[in-house]
């Protein structure tokens, strides 16, 4: 096994993929969340401003999903193949929802008829919410383990995927994105629209807190292998405590109108949720609920050492570049939304 800084390449790949999906959750998370709260904005102008707040960045945010998919395919081809084929219907729906959402964003502004705009507003909001839900459901199943046999073939049915634990994870993700998205929108708006979003973020924060507590309890009760990791290292119990403190602090920051800090706080919350999950499943990637011997681990599902080395080199060269583009983009469009003739 080749290593870099004394850590095996497979583990690096696990960390990289974790970081990319965290980046995706933080970035697409706020624009998906903006979609979830979209219908709670009542006026045409408000909705238009909200849409233009994500306008220049949502496409760049989705890139992280593409990079995540690419690195997962390259780094752990067996996990990529097994996960996507096992969750065939959910992933197909996820892809179609991504399309519907892109259509809604692009097409909403192209006509002025009331029904046209309402149609696309609803499509945008519903698809954004369901995308978050699907991602959460997949995440919940990954934590819980899925029915794969010794040949990495999924033996469960469609309904097994939508189990209560996975659905609870899905709802938690939706609430988190709604919080994250509404804070982003407050940052980009002003006056009465910002006040309304302030109120929406408060509600979203409360709903997320409730789901988060429920999910934590459910994990300890119904997902023994994840709980074991925590019982073995009780220090890890500070994570939920930190999460709840961060939530309170985020509310405080919003009240004090420190929106940028509040936005960074919910970004931190998002990555903390994923880090908790990564700790919970490491060194497994896909746990088999049939027999843990059938599970896909970092060791048995990674690409060849050569391939891992190549991809990690790409990431080392590419990640700083992507970071620079992203910062450039966000700096260019910093500040409140101003509509012009090129807006949606």
């Amino acid at each position: 096994m080749e290593t870099f800084l004394n850590i095996e390449l497979g583990t690096w790949m696990f960390l990289v993929i974790g970081a990319v999906f965290s980046g995706y959750a933080i970035l697409d998370g706020f624009d998906l969340g903006a979609g979830t709260v979209h219908l709670f904005l009542r006026k045409e102008e408000s909705r238009r401003i909200a849409l233009n707040a994500i306008g220049p960045v949502w496409d760049g945010n989705e890139v992280w999903l593409v990079i995540g998919g690419g690195t997962l395919f390259a780094g752990f081809p067996k996990v990529y193949a097994t996960l996507l084929s096992a969750f065939y219907i959910p992933f197909i729906l996820f892809l179609l929802l991504l399309i519907m959402r892109a259509i809604a964003i692009e097409f909403r502004s192209k006509e002025t008829m009331r029904w046209w705009r309402n149609l696309w507003d609803i499509t945008y909001s519903v698809s954004s919410t369901l995308i978050g839900l699907t991602l959460g459901v997949v995440l919940g199943n990954v934590v819980r383990g899925i029915a794969i046999d010794g040949n990495m073939i999924y033996k469960g049915g469609l309904l097994d995927i939508f189990n209560p634990y996975a659905l609870l994870t899905g709802l938690t993700v939706v609430a988190l994105f709604a919080l994250h998205g509404s804070v982003y929108l407050i940052m980009k708006t002003q006056d009465k629209l910002a006040e309304r979003l302030d109120y929406i973020s408060k509600i979203a924060g409360m709903i997320f807190t409730i789901f988060y507590v429920l999910l934590s309890i459910a994990t300890l009760m119904f997902v023994p292998h994840a709980a074991e990791e925590f019982k073995a290292m009780p220090i890890l119990f500070v994570i939920p405590v930190i999460t709840l403190l961060l939530l309170l602090n985020e509310r405080r920051l919003i009240v004090k109108k420190k929106y940028w800090m509040a936005f960074m706080t919910s970004a931190l919350l998002t990555s903390l949720l994923l880090i908790t999950i990564a700790i919970g499943i490491y060194p497994y990637l896909l746990l088999s609920s049939i027999d843990s011997a059938f599970s896909l681990t970092i060791a048995n599902s990674a690409a060849s050492q050569k391939s891992l080395g190549i991809i990690l080199t790409f990431v080392m060269i590419g990640a700083p570049m992507v970071l620079i583009y992203t910062i450039f983009l966000f700096r260019t469009f910093r500040g409140k939304v101003v509509l012009d003739d090129m807006s949606y």
Binding site: G60, G69, L84, Y88, I103, D191, S307, I311, F314, V322
Partner: protein, 454 residues
Amino acid sequence: MDVEILSRIQFAFTIAFHYIYPPLSIGLGVALVVFEGMYLRTKDKHYEQLTKFWIRIFALIFGIGVATGIVMEFEFGTNWAAYSRYVGDIFGSALAAEGVFAFALESTFLGVLLFGWNKVSPKVHFFSTIMVTLGSMFSAIWIVVANSWQQTPAGFKIVGEGMTARAEITDFWAMVFNPSSVDRILHVWIAAFLAGTFLVLSVHAYYILKTRFVEQSKKAFGVILVIATISALAQLVTGHSSANGVAVNQPAKLAAFEGHYDSSAVADMYLFGWVDDAEQKVTGVKIPGGLTFLLHQDFKTPVTGLNAFDKNDRPGQVNFVFQTYHIMIAIGIALIGLTLLALFLWWRGKLFNQRWLMIVFSFSVVLPQIGNQVGWYSAEVGRQPWVVYGLLRTSDALSENVRAGQVMFSLILFTIVYLILFGLFIYLLNKKIQTGIASHGSDKKYASTNLISE
């Protein structure tokens, strides 16, 4: 229908639909760089109007390209799990490179291109336009590399046996520069330039016919016509070079292109024809020994025919491969004729008076589109029954747990959503074209709106 044929139909349908858009983005990107560059150099308002007009159309095309492109990346895993496990080591690294190096570049700078006109300086905006165009061309490199590896695998070894066999990378650069990569990248790029430039030519020919925005359209038509002509001619070169590569690396595919069965015979080249696969006979108009001449520069050397391969190792749909290949070539020749004629008339100062030619150009946008589609059909169907040529059969590449019913369900959904998408695309494209170049559309009244009451 079984799961294999359904999965193939679904993949073909989703990739064919997707492939309408990326070539248009690449070609339009080049046109945007030209228009914006001309504007920065000359400060001519017409070029500014052209740039802004085509940015709006670019946004529409790019958006659909991204949405339908993400589908492709995940469809390997959903429908072709065995394939993904087999080639992940190699194919995955190409896809990862595409995401990290190309897609990130184009999608990020797209934000500035679309929304940054009043936010950044003209030079920074121009730089963003160039980055988006380069990014989309880099994307094409990695995707075509991945596909070319399926056609002509190189730089790998096979590890394991039976169910667990998989290709592992041994030499990255040999994988990237596999025998067909360079020819095919150039062929795909130029095809994309043709797709984009002919969209521009079509729209401006239409404006000239309707006597709307005539000044701007004449300028746009002239400068883009030059690029289109060079591309059409260059495509002949890359096409020939590609075919030579196919002859060496995938002889069964080449034989299917011309319906050539007998390995001891000189190979003919058909202008058009019909293949009877059962009788192994082609009826049509041919240049006797034409294919032999193109490959070997003589009329004597025999060419490997389909009969040199076991029935299970060669494409089953010979006539389909033959037809698509010949339509592609016919379109390529037509584009050369059309652009050279227009260039000649332009030089003589008579181009824009030729009403009939402007009508032809108005509809010409469909030609490169059809050419791109059928070109890929012949390349991909010609590769069958292999998904990775000579290594992995398409029938062995499927997801083991996915059932025909599930694929039928997803295929129906894709069909419905894509048909809606296509309908909306055409509607909005037409609307933008009808709205025209100089006007900013109905949203202008919002332009200064800033303070909001909820």
